[in-house]
Amino acid sequence: VSSSQTITVTINGTIYEREVEARKLLIHFIRDDVDLTGSHIGCDTGNCGACSVIVDGTLVKSCMMLAVQADGSSIETVEGLADGDELTVLQQAFSDHHALQCGYCTPGMLMSATALLRINAHPSEDEIKKGLQGNICRCTGYWNIFEAVSAAAEKISR
């Protein structure tokens, strides 16, 4: 029906080579083809941020990118954050500060916050809020998430 292309991407350190339809979105590739369902689809329109992943060091909403555009890139998803059973400081902070309830937006929040803390180890309150503005949460509310990120930033820089 439509054109396919073979792409090679590295996701959380593992190399995947797959044939994909040219119109396939990166999030569908990650969730359906590679079976990493930690990244979620909340809106399909680039508003909610539940599908946020890090592509070659840049935070990306993966429903706004085609899988073929990711050819040759290195992608980090929520599954790649923890080292085995060892949670990252940020993941632990989310749990400690009750920054999640249903957990649907959490992977996106974690990726946004991870990307933020990498480029800015000492974010101000406004910078944290700005760093999370592309992510929507519908049950926990934002305050606990904000607190978790500030606590993690403080702990990491200590």
Partner: protein, 188 residues
């Protein structure tokens, strides 16, 4: 003691007793056992579940804010290879009860279903569901659903409404144009 001038109300602080929270309400945070898997992306949400021969759904949606549906033709979509089936509002209405209405009358008199029945009331309202082998196929097949509408141009200053027959072709997404333009609203 604070007196509100011109009023008999007197608010005396000593009458407002601020009690410390009772011991029984204080305690420790209880760690949630589901947190660990959720922060690692290991939760299982409905969208994460896959089954053999699972179908993917795509909805044909209304391009109009307010229109009557005069006909729906799903035959081309259904004949496409890999399409499991389609569902229209009429079929939904024959298979299910209308949604429960929370509102009192007249709102409570509304009878609506999971898919539009006879009429669409907002742009993007789901009219036909198409289920197919893959997400892409469902999307392609839904482009083959043909729906005809009679719609009313929305207006603010006119008391009359003139129906204009409109046909929405196979694509439905490109934005159908009216075959006949309604007269411009006149100021009264």
């Amino acid at each position: 003691v604070t007196s509100v001038t011109g009023s008999t109300t007197t608010i005396s602080p000593e009458r407002v007793e601020i009690q410390p929270p009772k011991e029984q309400y204080k305690g420790q945070n209880v760690p949630r056992k589901e947190d660990k898997r959720l922060v690692q992306g290991q939760g299982t949400f409905v969208d994460d579940i896959k089954r053999h021969h699972m179908g993917y759904i795509h909805f044909v949606r209304s391009p109009y804010a307010h229109a009557h549906i005069t006909s729906i033709d799903v035959s081309k979509a259904e004949s496409m290879k890999g399409v499991y089936g389609t569902l229209t509002g009429e079929e939904v209405a024959s298979l299910t009860d209308p949604f429960f209405q929370l509102s009192s009358v007249p709102g409570g008199n509304i009878k609506d279903y999971a898919l539009a029945l006879g009429k669409v009331r907002f742009v993007g309202e789901a009219i036909v569901a198409v289920v197919a082998e893959t997400r892409e196929l469902a999307r392609d097949a839904s482009e083959l659903v043909e729906i005809e509408y009679t719609h009313w141009r929305s207006r603010s200053r006119s008391s009359t409404t003139t129906p204009a027959a409109t046909s929405c072709g196979p694509a439905c997404t490109s934005g159908a144009t009216s075959t006949r333009r309604s007269p411009r609203p006149t100021r009264s």
